[in-house]
């Protein structure tokens, strides 16, 4: 495998960056940026609707409208060249491209339809009571402990249990899914030290996940089995089914874990917002939506131009990588009133935490469901949550969340 960062020669006829576009030597993947990216996003948004990032040779969009325009025009801004910095058209990817994430229509449409069916609201309804019972068990255990870890005891534990069961993977060894997901999301960025270290430390994770995705190792009634059933029906190939189980696991676990952790951090830091939710646990779904907007799990990924085009008045060559900052769009004051305020009463729908358009997260409804049930259960049973010390931030090139969050929870008095 090779990990080149510089794009190879392209057919462009424009100097890059085009005159008039702000060129920045800013590195969005630097640790000090990942620690608190939002002031940097503001800097980029104010620098223009499109900026040039010298270090990586890419354009970047950070405002709500420009992000939406790119994501909803897959004919011009494709995914088949990879949604990371590596251009699959000209460079070798670190693993085989995903047949849903990294393909364009019409191939994408076929695969997507299978997921639409398996993860439809109707299909998810059947899982509700199981998820609720599990959330109750975990929240009760947190209350018993009093002093607990919001990540380990809920944000990690809940999705690993309910999502792992829903997919139907073996119960032993599920912890291997997390470093694998970490790797996948690091790979959306450059082959920097963070990526290399993650790849070197993957250990048995790849082997575990490869085995877990085999038909004979999956339960007979989970999403995994349904993907293989779709292969039996001729909708996809059997090899594809195995790959899609892998995609489901890598896309669906670290992300929900981080989102739930981000919810707990922001509710812990904003007792007034926690009080709103605690007094009306039905607001759990709206709260998760605001968490996705205010403290997005997914921060950035790429699209690649399929032809010469113009974006925000700037001519782009074919095969040009465009870095799309959804987390910045979710804080753009051009779209949101008071965007830097965490407000669980806000109508946060329309945020692009799950992306937008045909590649918008296929698992977003189950992710919302997991988050909603966990938060609603917590808000129904717990009076107060108090962060004990600073939560431990996890550093990844493209996703943001916490690995530990000591906290004290107090039960509601009935």
């Amino acid at each position: 495998m090779k990990f080149q960062q510089q794009p190879e020669s392209r057919s462009h006829s424009y100097p890059v960056p085009v005159e008039g576009v702000t060129s920045l030597d800013f590195d969005p993947y630097a640790s000090e940026v990942l620690r608190d990216p939002y002031p940097h996003y503001e800097m980029m948004r104010e620098a223009g609707p499109i900026v040039w990032l010298e270090k990586y040779g890419v354009y970047a969009v950070t405002r709500y409208d420009s992000v939406r325009n790119v994501l909803t025009d897959p004919e011009t801004y494709c995914s088949s060249a990879g949604v990371g910095l590596t251009n699959f058209h000209t460079e070798e990817p670190w693993r085989q491209p995903s047949i849903i994430l990294e393909v364009d229509p019409p191939e994408h449409t076929k695969t997507r339809a299978v997921f639409t069916r398996i993860l439809s609201p109707r299909a998810l309804k059947k899982l509700t009571s199981t998820f609720e019972a599990q959330a109750e068990l975990m929240v009760d255990r947190m209350i018993e402990k009093g002093v607990c870890d919001g990540v380990k005891d809920l944000a990690d534990a809940f999705p690993i249990k309910v999502f792992g069961d829903a997919v139907g993977v073996p119960k032993d060894g599920r912890e291997h899914l997390l470093p694998y997901g970490d790797m996948v999301f690091n790979a959306f960025g450059p082959a920097n030290d963070r990526f290399k270290e993650c790849l070197a430390n993957l250990g048995p994770a790849t082997e575990w996940i490869t085995n877990a995705c085999q038909r004979e190792n999956l339960t007979s009634d989970g999403f995994g089995a349904e993907l293989y059933a779709a292969a039996d029906a001729g909708d996809i190939s059997h090899e594809d089914a195995g790959m899609l189980v892998r995609t489901t696991l890598s896309a669906g676990l670290d992300t929900t874990i981080f989102t739930m952790g981000n919810a707990l951090v922001n509710l812990g830091r904003n007792p007034d917002q926690w009080a709103v939710l605690r007094d009306d646990p039905k607001r759990a779904r709206a709260t998760i939506e605001e968490v996705l907007r205010y403290d997005s799990t997914f921060h950035s990924f790429y699209r690649t131009t399929t032809k010469e085009t113009e974006l925000e008045g700037v001519p782009l060559a074919r095969e040009q990588k465009v870095l799309v900052f959804v987390a910045s769009a979710n804080r753009d004051p051009r779209h949101w009133a008071d965007p830097d305020r965490f407000d669980v009463l806000r109508k946060a729908t329309g945020n692009m935490g799950f992306g937008a358009g045909i590649h918008g997260c296929a698992g977003q409804m189950i992710a919302r469901m997991e988050g909603e049930i966990a938060l609603r259960t917590l808000a129904s049973k717990v009076e107060s949550i108090e962060l004990l010390g600073e939560p431990i931030l996890h550093f990844n090139n493209t996703v943001r969340g916490y690995t530990s969050m000591p906290m004290r929870v107090t039960a509601k008095k009935h």
Binding site: R117, G360, Q364
Partner: protein
Amino acid sequence: MPTITYELADGTRTDIKVDVGANVMRTAIDADIPGIVAECGGAAMCATCHVYLEKDSASAFTTISDVEEEMLECVAEDRQPESRLSCQLYVPEGIEQIIVRLPETQG
């Protein structure tokens, strides 16, 4: 300029002038029309932008795709022959007015 008319379950109507190619869901969200939730923002995953098309409007649109078909099976209020997901509807050329009725609930 074509007009999209949104009729709420209580009969209230709102007319919005749009360009050809406008999306029926997005237009409603931008205009703050109640009754369309569109939780997934147009990714055809949530079935919460369900509308009923008035007869004359129905024929103006492209046919229902497999994905939309799947989602229409998940809508909260009864699916009717004129049911569509508004996120999949783009205003075509050559039509003056599109009338969509909104269900009482999206879930």
